[in-house]
Amino acid sequence: MEELDKILRRIRESKPGMESRYELRESIMEKVHKRANYLDYFFAWTDVGWLRKSLAFASVIIVLFFCGQQVFMTNRIDKLEKRMISINTDNILQYQRENVMANSVLYRDADRKTLADSIKVATDDLLDLVKSYRDLQLKYENVQNEAKQEKQENRKQKL
């Protein structure tokens, strides 16, 4: 602490002063001015009337083009909603498998193709019939399984 006090005392005694205040101020002002010059240089085009107007016009056109394009795209994407259907690829493949099986039942006997007097109705009805039959079969098997399980549980409870 004593040494520090000594140093401070000496500095005070030597009375330090700014000898070239004017130069310092000038150099600071010059630097500030220089920065202003850079901006002037960078935006010098704003002093040229036709260039300023042209660039402003170009900017407006670009912004309008951008907005227009976005609105156009959004409208088209909105329209896609109308074409949405609640099914996915797995369902489609599942339908294909079901149809293939139904068809295989229909075409097992090749002569059946020519039996019906009204081919379209017969084919559709037969396909529906086969599908319904297969659904019923599945439901029947499920009911049977459930009944079996119920019986087993009853036995367990009795035991």
Binding site: R52, R83, V100
Partner: protein, 345 residues
């Protein structure tokens, strides 16, 4: 030899053939930004019997082929064949379509790919077009917009709708009336094709002396008759061209009727299949049907391209981040300059 009114016979055949008993086919296109297409074909059948030379779309041994099977809850086994091939461009697909000799040999198909630079975005368009089988009545001129939506809807999706909550309403209000309208449209289209063919024949053979104006006048009259009377070819042609024409020009008549049947072949004998396409970037428009996962689907069958070209198209976009940045910087530069000028003055 007298033939019964072939229009109705052909209509019945056409409806029937849309559900023939071969393997079901699903074609999946994965389109790349550079126009490459990865094409995947999934065939489903009740037996492990797949004949690639007899498929709905071109496929051969150069495709990567794999097989699998699926056993349903009912215990039924269905077999699937998956074939994949990378195409450098749609030209290769078109080349395959040109040399194709499968179950749809008369079907004229073409694939198109287009990429457009639109500064902020790149737009992509992929389409596959099946050329019209004959000059009939385009569906757009006959059906309403809603009817067209259901007309082009893949059969499997219609089936799915009929299992949904509004099935009765859809069936009674849309699908049943549509079936009747479809029959009417098919009849009118076939009659139009006949009239156009007759007019062409008249043009090529002026010595026969067919009055083409009379042909078009009689078309309307004949259309209404077709739905009430069981007409024979002789009656149809005599109504159109004057009594006795059929007998007097039997050879010519036989020739052009054979020609019409030949033209109708691709539509009547079409073996239907499903087409699905994935595009690069974000989907923006399509005339296909979107499923829950955003996949786009179409069905190709004879009805769809009977009287007008059937184009299955899809469009998507990708963004250009550099264009956004360049544009942002430019607009910022101009706005800053204008503000600077305003403050300065």
């Amino acid at each position: 030899m007298k033939r019964k009114a072939s229009i109705f016979i052909l209509m019945t055949i056409m409806i029937f053939l849309s559900s023939c008993g071969g393997p079901d086919a699903l074609v999946v296109n994965m389109v790349g930004e550079d126009g490459t297409v990865q094409r995947k074909l999934i065939l489903t059948y009740h037996a492990d019997e797949f004949d690639l030379s007899d498929c709905q779309v071109p496929v051969d041994s150069t495709w990567v082929i794999s097989k699998s099977f699926d056993v349903s809850e009912e215990g039924d086994t269905t077999y699937s064949l998956t074939a994949i091939k990378e195409f450098d461009s749609v030209d290769e697909i078109n080349h395959d379509y040109k040399t194709y000799k499968g179950t749809n040999p008369g079907m004229i198909r073409r694939a198109y790919f287009e990429k457009k630079f639109r500064w902020f975005n790149n737009l992509y368009r992929y389409s596959e077009k099946v050329s019209a089988a004959l000059v009939g009545i385009p569906p757009g001129d006959f059906f309403t917009e809603e009817e067209i939506d259901y007309l082009y809807m893949p059969e499997k999706l219609t089936d799915a709708l009929l299992e949904g909550p509004d099935s009765t309403k859809i069936s009674e209000e849309i699908l049943d009336p549509l079936e009747k309208r479809k029959e009417e449209w098919l009849g009118k289209s076939l009659l139009r094709a006949l009239v156009v063919k007759l007019a062409d024949t008249a043009y090529a053979n002026p010595e026969i002396g067919i009055d083409t104006n009379r042909l078009y006048r009689k078309e309307e009259e004949l259309t209404s008759m077709l739905f009430f009377d069981d007409l024979e070819e002789e009656q149809i042609l005599d109504t159109l061209l004057g009594k006795g024409f059929y007998q007097d020009n039997s050879v010519l008549v036989e020739n052009f009727l054979s020609e019409i049947e030949k033209e109708l072949g691709p539509a009547f004998e079409a073996d239907s299949y499903l087409l699905q396409t994935f595009m690069p970037g974000e989907l923006i428009a399509t005339n296909g049907y979107l499923d829950k996962e955003g996949n786009v689907l179409w069905e190709v069958d004879g009805e769809k391209f009977l009287s007008s070209d059937y184009e299955m198209w899809i469009e998507s976009k990708t963004s250009n981040p550099w264009a956004w940045m360049v544009t942002g910087a430019f607009v910022l530069f101009v706005v800053s300059g204008l503000l600077f000028k305003a403050f300065k003055s």
